[in-house]
Assembly symmetry: C2
Homo-oligomer: 157 residues x 2
């Protein structure tokens, strides 16, 4: 203990002598850019790997809040509604418009618009427009996952 005390005192004194602020290291404040990057990676994963890629960004205890249906609890139950992403005729793209993150960098959200394009057997493509909000939470392993996602409809264009 004595050695530790001396070492700490020496470090404090040394820090002050060198004009270094003696404080616990403060990492750079988190910015919502983390979440915008995640959204981009998330969309790429969905485009490349379908439902599995999409769901890889969801937390185990995530909640999906779909329009016109009851909330769905848990990644497994949500995944069972996402197989349409495995059909290459379907494409889901989205654009975050709003994003914010907590000062502690552990909770944040993105919100924006989405387009669901579906190519039909007759060769025609339909596009459904909507809006979404996703809540992102940093997990124990340091990864960010969606813990809640909600969608609603945009006006018909």
């Amino acid at each position: 203990m004595k050695i530790r005390t001396m070492v700490m005192m020496a470090l404090v004194a040394g820090g002050i002598a060198l004009g270094v602020r003696v404080s616990i290291a403060h990492p750079k404040p988190a910015t919502a850019d983390i979440l915008r990057q995640l959204e981009s990676d998330f969309m790429e994963a969905a485009a490349e790997r379908g439902a599995e890629g999409y769901m890889s960004y969801y937390a185990e205890d995530a909640v999906e809040v779909p329009n016109g249906a009851d909330a769905i609890h848990g990644k497994t139950n949500i995944a069972s509604t996402m197989s349409f992403l495995n059909d290459k005729n379907n494409q889901l793209v989205w654009t975050p418009v709003y994003a914010d993150i907590s000062a502690s960098g552990d909770l944040g959200y993105t919100s924006g618009t989405y387009e669901f394009r579906s190519k039909h057997q007759d060769g025609k493509t339909t596009v459904e427009h909507g809006k979404y909000t996703s809540i992102w939470k940093k997990q124990k392993d340091g990864s960010w996952k969606v813990v809640l996602d909600m969608g609603n409809a945009s006006p018909r264009k």
Copy 2:
């Protein structure tokens, strides 16, 4: 500088001698109970003071993300869509089901179900069921405000 150094060294040494962790004081971690209480106050304000009471919980730069319409930016524009709350025949009640807050206690969300009850001239009451997610952010003055609110429809009962 010398006196400061000595004082700091004494504090560090004293802290270690007393078995006290030498660290910056940590306030109690924020819990989502703050947001559940806010939701209760928010609903009471809307019931008692109509649109003005409801809007008093919105930040100036808030965004409303309504179902079937484009996002609405800013408290003034959102307020212009809320006058239906001034009609005592209308009642909006909601129940938070999910809530979480950041470790830093500056950002959080609530999500749950709502009921919009409307009493018509023929004496009949209609009830519309839906779901919502609200993002709450602590403002510079220490108050909590809704910075984003989104709604969608529940299945017809």
